[in-house]
């Protein structure tokens, strides 16, 4: 079973510390999930994720995994945990975001989402029921319902229409979920996704309808798609007033370290984002000293550690000068060092926040770090 225990709440903000327990172990919240799109966090072995970073939960992408390695391989492997040798929790998204981002390759109808593969043009159809089945085959600990995303530029009427479909799809998904069993023995939780763009009334309608499903956890989707940060924060506030306090709240696809801090202050427990790993590959580092563009000439002979504030092998062992050299020479080792650095900074931020919440000093911590992590080093 999945359980969520609240351990501490900030008296001044909405921040909270909890324990999310799955059959693959417990996740201290607030927590950030590294993204392992197609069965690996790009460039990092599981022992690095576990031993160096103490990652507690990973995210996989249902759409990408359905294409490669495909459901048959995953079933024969005994599920994604076995396949990628990861024995801690996995959460999978539903494909709704890929339907949003793949544009012309996608057609959305009341039945579901018709994809043409971005790889070879082959056809997939994601109904709300099918998406549960695929995630049963993957074996994720937390599954997401299929949803319909809208861009930040959507008008209220279109947002309402898409959200009402998302709610109908969630109801269909839960019916199917309750009629099916896990494939690999461990419990799989299904979470619905609140939509409604930046319209408070649509967001409220969405949240109220989904709460009626009595889910074990709730996701907030459709943010970080082009709206300004204040709109994101305001929307999260509106939604979290309605979502049940005793269930985990997952904000999908967000964001910068500052975004994490500000959303934790508004009651979010769980995050994922490609930003730390994607930016790592382009040489953009998040450090306890602020943002570092490792290609910048100022690091050419900077022989201090990549990040003196993080006690991780990669951050302590190598110099910024060496990492700059690796990036400029396009040596693949730069991916490992930079990805570990950025994920270490994200997880450090989550753990710092958690300790501050538990110890009743979250507002002071936030005041010190929220801006600081967003500045240039």
């Amino acid at each position: 079973m999945l359980s969520f225990e609240l351990q501490a709440e900030c008296p001044e903000t909405g921040a909270r510390a909890g324990l999310l327990t799955t059959d693959h172990g417990t996740v201290e919240t607030p927590m950030f999930q590294p993204v392992g799109t197609v069965g690996s966090v790009k460039g990092l072995a599981p022992r690095t994720l576990k031993g160096d970073l103490d990652v507690r939960i990973l995210l996989g992408n249902t759409y990408h995994l359905a294409l490669r390695p495909g459901r048959e391989v995953l079933i024969e492997a005994g599920g994604l945990h076995e396949f990628m040798r990861w024995d801690r929790p996995i959460l999978t998204d539903s494909g709704g975001f890929q339907a949003f981002s793949l544009g012309d390759l996608v057609k959305v109808t009341e039945d579901g989402i018709a994809f043409r593969s971005h790889l070879d043009g082959s056809r997939l159809f994601f109904s709300p029921e099918e998406v549960v089945d695929i995630q049963r085959d993957i074996g994720s600990d937390v599954m997401m319902v299929l949803d319909e995303l809208t861009p930040a530029t959507v008008d209220r009427a279109e947002s309402r229409r898409a959200n009402e479909r998302t709610v109908r799809w969630a109801e269909r998904a839960f019916d199917h979920y309750r009629a099916t069993e896990p494939r690999y023995g461990h419990h799989q939780s299904l979470w619905p996704i609140v939509q409604g763009a930046v319209f408070p009334d649509v967001r409220r309608e969405s949240a109220r309808a989904l709460v009626d499903l009595g889910a074990e956890g709730y996701a907030i989707g459709g943010l970080s798609v082009g709206e300004v940060a204040e709109q994101m924060y305001d929307t999260v506030e509106v939604v979290n007033e309605i979502l049940p306090a005793d269930r985990p709240r997952y904000l999908m696809g967000v964001g910068t370290p500052q975004n994490l801090i500000e959303n934790v202050a508004r009651g979010v427990d769980l995050f994922d984002c490609v930003m730390p790993t994607r930016n790592a590959r382009t040489g953009s580092l998040f450090t306890t000293e602020g943002l570092v563009n490792i290609k910048n000439a100022k690091w050419k002979t900077h022989f201090g550690p990549v990040d003196p504030g993080l006690e991780v092998y990669h951050s302590q062992t190598f110099s910024r000068a060496y990492l700059r050299h690796l990036k400029i020479a396009n040596e693949p080792l730069h991916v490992e060092i930079s990805s570990v650095q950025n994920l270490a900074l994200y997880l450090w931020t989550m753990r710092q926040m958690r300790a501050a919440i538990v110890e009743g000093r979250f507002p002071a911590w936030r005041a010190e770090w929220s801006e600081r992590l967003a500045q240039k080093a």
Copy 2:
């Protein structure tokens, strides 16, 4: 100082087991050196090289390091060992091979080799003396003299002309070497390179002339450039009859596991080659079960380990099915797993040979494995 102690010799073949000691530690021979062209073995952190593979000595490329990160950065870093965080021995080549492989970007005269950078067209001039100076700046434990390579198609007269220049350059390099000091305090050894293509008489002239230099070790260059394997083996035999038995012998740029075995049988102590790491990146694996093309559909649901015969995390933890998926999905983690696998197989081969030589059963080991490692799995 550099020392070489012979510990055992095969009574039936030329194979020998020794200990090569540098100021950065001891190398059991026969040994293979992974190639770290521009300051990293592609995709592998030093702790992986040391902790997983127990790599004893690495190779760096003087030409590539002179371009990036450049001599100034290396000097300021305190040398390549410090820069890349590698505290075991490093051997560097001289740039002669790059002069051979960069074609139109290179002009060779009696003075030395004029390069135009393959990166930005900027000019470098490698004289025999300058190449010693650059390697002083790098701080390698074993430095190579500048040499002039010839292709496998060269005629005897041209081979003799190039070899005579190589000998003159070696004399100039040793004069300069003996007149200069190490930059970082540790001893740096300079080894000359026997040339002469596949002409036994030219090879003998080369070896005899270089032995007169009284070097601490000798390299055999100009092989694995297009000749057939038997010509390589015959040439190594000819040269090793002349090179002093009490000095280490390094065969440059060779080769497959079978090449290593056959050349160890002819008295070679040290190797380097890009093959294990380069082939890893294209999905060609060397395993104790033979050659594996990981992209092949036959591995799609092969959930056994990458190599059941190697006790290394990467080879034991992941399945061929998973590694195939990573390669096909172009996930960067495949580089780490495949590179560790291939280097582990190379180092396993060297250690198996060494144990067999010490225990007096090298011919039997060679008979069992030389063909076997070259077959398809």
